[in-house]
Amino acid sequence: MSAATVEQHTERGLPEQGFLSRATAWICTVGGVVGMLAAVMLIVEKINLLANRGYVPSCSINPILSCGSVMSTPQAEAFGIPNPLIGIAGFAVVTMIGVVLLAGVRLPGWFWLGLQAGATFGVVFVHWLIYQSLYIIGALCPYCMLVWAVAIPIFLYVTLRTLRQHGGALPRSVRRAAAAAASYHSLVLTAWYVIISLAILNRFWDYWITLI
């Protein structure tokens, strides 16, 4: 019996291993569907806006919560095409991977690294968009925020799983930090959401206090 098989046996023996994989499968499925629906809504509103310049998108509620203003910025076409097109394609793939994982299919390592690359691109892009939305454009677009809200857990859980999977190749300190993050997964996710929520609250404080 080789060392590799022994390690695999012990890893499989840990309850978190199974948990993390299943959590990742569910997050990809649910997050992928939510992200895809949000991207579809954004494209529909974009088409309506193009067809009729006076159209007020369903998600333009007031000057702060407004897709109309966010959708018409250059940032909404960061790569020369409307961002939601990337979202529709990307989230469809993520959903499919989630469903495949739920079906119990074991995917090869290179496939996971591909998902990791996509999830990393997504989360970096989303944080650039968050920054642009808050500090440059100065408005929030509800459907876009839905995309932010799913891109983060997809990245987090895929990454925690990747770190667990490739733990052997990592320095001991990184491995320990990754293990701690994995056992406090929802705390990490909540803290991440809290930081962004506080930035939003702080940025538009003058507006929020008028609501109560």
Binding site: G18, S60, S66, L187, T190, L201, I212
Partner: protein, 238 residues
């Protein structure tokens, strides 16, 4: 398997039914944030500005349209008055602009159309744009500057840097007296004039832009030009 998967996903309790440390810390973090933010929102609660209403429940006409408010058209019979609180940098206002332009062309002197400033603080150049319009108004060219600002909004909107040069360019295009324009742009009286409009808007219950009032009643659920036209036709027919 799927139901089991969902339960494991949340992984909220161990075999003994006790909450895991992760779950407890997560809930504690949420509780702390809710309490702190809730507390700050309560402490910072602004005094609600009194909404200036008439007995009939409409907004006082004198609050919506002051003597010095800018009118793009004036009805001979004074029967129908449409007031728009706007922000020159707001996209929805620019989206409403072609509709307003067409309505002005259609109805001409059958309605009074009043423009009020309501620059939103999160738009970096909204206040400056309002002062630009007011400085032009001081030379009798409000409506021309209003057109300039909206038609070119994409070239100056949503930029962090002050767009003073762009606005000076508009003033030059209109052939304004530039030294007077620049003096007025920086005059505290100009800022105060915009502040007065904002205060009236707040008193009338304006929270965002564009907000339209037709004969003192705020128009809500406007989905486009057709809704606005229908509301005006209805008011004219009464």
């Amino acid at each position: 398997m799927c139901a089991g998967g969902l339960i494991t996903l949340f992984h909220a309790a161990d075999e003994d039914g006790k909450m895991t440390r992760n779950t407890r810390l997560t809930l504690a973090l949420i509780a702390v944030v809710v309490l702190v933010v809730g507390g700050l929102l309560t402490v910072n609660r602004p005094d609600q500005p009194p909404v200036a209403t008439t007995d009939a429940g409409a907004i006082e006409p004198t609050v919506l349209a002051r003597e010095d408010s800018h009118r793009l058209s004036t009805a001979a019979d004074g029967k129908v008055t449409l007031v728009e609180f706007l922000d020159f940098e707001c996209e929805s206002c620019a989206a409403a602009y072609p509709a307003v332009k067409q309505i002005l062309a259609t109805y001409q002197d059958r309605i009074t159309f009043v423009v009020r400033y309501f620059p939103i603080p999160s738009h970096p150049n909204a206040e400056l744009a309002a002062r630009t319009a007011q400085a032009a108004a001081n030379q009798g060219r409000f409506s021309d500057m209003y057109i300039q600002l909206f038609e070119n909004q994409t070239s100056w909107g949503h930029k962090e840097q002050a767009q003073t040069e762009v606005f000076l360019g508009h003033a030059r295009t209109l052939g304004l007296d530039m030294s007077r324009f620049q003096r007025d742009l920086d005059d505290p009286a100009t800022a105060a004039r915009i502040g007065k409009d904002k205060a009236d808007g707040a008193a009338a219950g304006v929270q965002g832009t564009p907000t339209f009032f037709l004969n003192g009643r705020q128009l809500t659920d406007l989905r486009g030009q057709d809704d606005l036209v229908a509301a005006i036709d209805d008011a004219l027919a009464r």
